[in-house]
């Protein structure tokens, strides 16, 4: 182990502190709203369902928490293109 690795190994507390600050900022915001993702999933599904039929299980929502920016990833699996046209026309 070189000197830098030794130094890095020792200063784990600042990493712990930073991880906790980021995590708790989000957990506090979500307190009492633990169903936020489920709510989002329902509402997004309702909007999409106005235009074509999608399976509830085909809408995936992920939240990735960062210190400054969080990303909300919405993954909607739509029926094949022909199916979509039919659904969209209907």
């Amino acid at each position: 182990m070189n000197l830098i690795a030794l130094f890095r190994r020792r200063s784990s507390a600042p990493v712990a502190r930073e991880r906790l600050q980021v995590l708790l900022a989000h957990e506090r915001a979500l307190t009492g709203r633990s169903d936020l993702l489920a709510t989002l999933q329902d509402e997004i599904l309702a909007v999409i369902a106005k235009h074509f039929t999608v399976d509830r299980d085909k809408v995936q929502i992920k939240l990735d928490r960062g210190e400054k920016v969080s990303t909300l990833e919405i993954d909607v699996e739509v029926p094949s293109l022909t199916g979509l046209k039919v659904a969209a026309r209907a």
């Binding site: 020792r10 784990s12 507390a13 712990a16 957990e27």
Partner: protein, 271 residues
Amino acid sequence: MAKVVVVTSGKGGVGKTTSTAALGAALAQSGANVVVVDFDVGLRNLDLVMGAERRVVFDLINVVQGDAKLSQALIRDKRIDTLSLLPASQTRDKDALTPEGVQKVIADLREKFDWVICDSPAGIEKGAVMAMRHADIAIVVTNPEVSSVRDSDRIIGLLDAKTEKAENGGRIEKHLLLTRYDAGRAARGEMLKTEDVLEILSIPLLGIIPESEEVLRASNLGSPVTLLNPTSAPARAYIDAARRLRGELVEVVVPLERKGFMGRLFGRKVA
């Protein structure tokens, strides 16, 4: 006016029971009438840490359900006569605790004692909520370690939502008790510092209890550390914390173990 204190943490194994016993004994030593109440129904341990495990006849559940009188269930400490224990049941489960029953027991204890110190079970379920429900003051026991700090944050949220005080629009008094602290490791950046934990949890500090072999020795022998060895580092830290709880202004320092030359030579930890 009696004070009801809950010693809580969310996470298990951080030192709730040890702290309940040590603070209870320290307060009783100063002349106050103190009862320590074990709320960990089904997994009681306060009796063992207090050295009263062979004297338990009736327990909290018996009193809550009206099968025994409060005076029958209370166990007077053999070392300090102003200290009593109300043990938890070992055979029942937490569902035996009814909100009305607990309220009645706490109200009766308020009449008899100056301090009612409730040792909460770990977790955030019914048992923990019952233990905190009627408290005036909460002591949040935290280790300088990520999972403990996170769980403490959660418990602080519950204290502000599920206690009687909070529901009536008041604010429950909350204090941080940092346990198993190693000042050397914190200084070397290997462990969260007191300031880090205070900044993250933003509740006032009641005390810092240094990591010490005396704590295990005390539980092995069935005595609160503040009674067994009052001059040891953890005992001095608990005694100071008890004084702060009474409202005294005591400067926070981390007491150090006084070790002789041989102790320093052979007492060094391997890890």
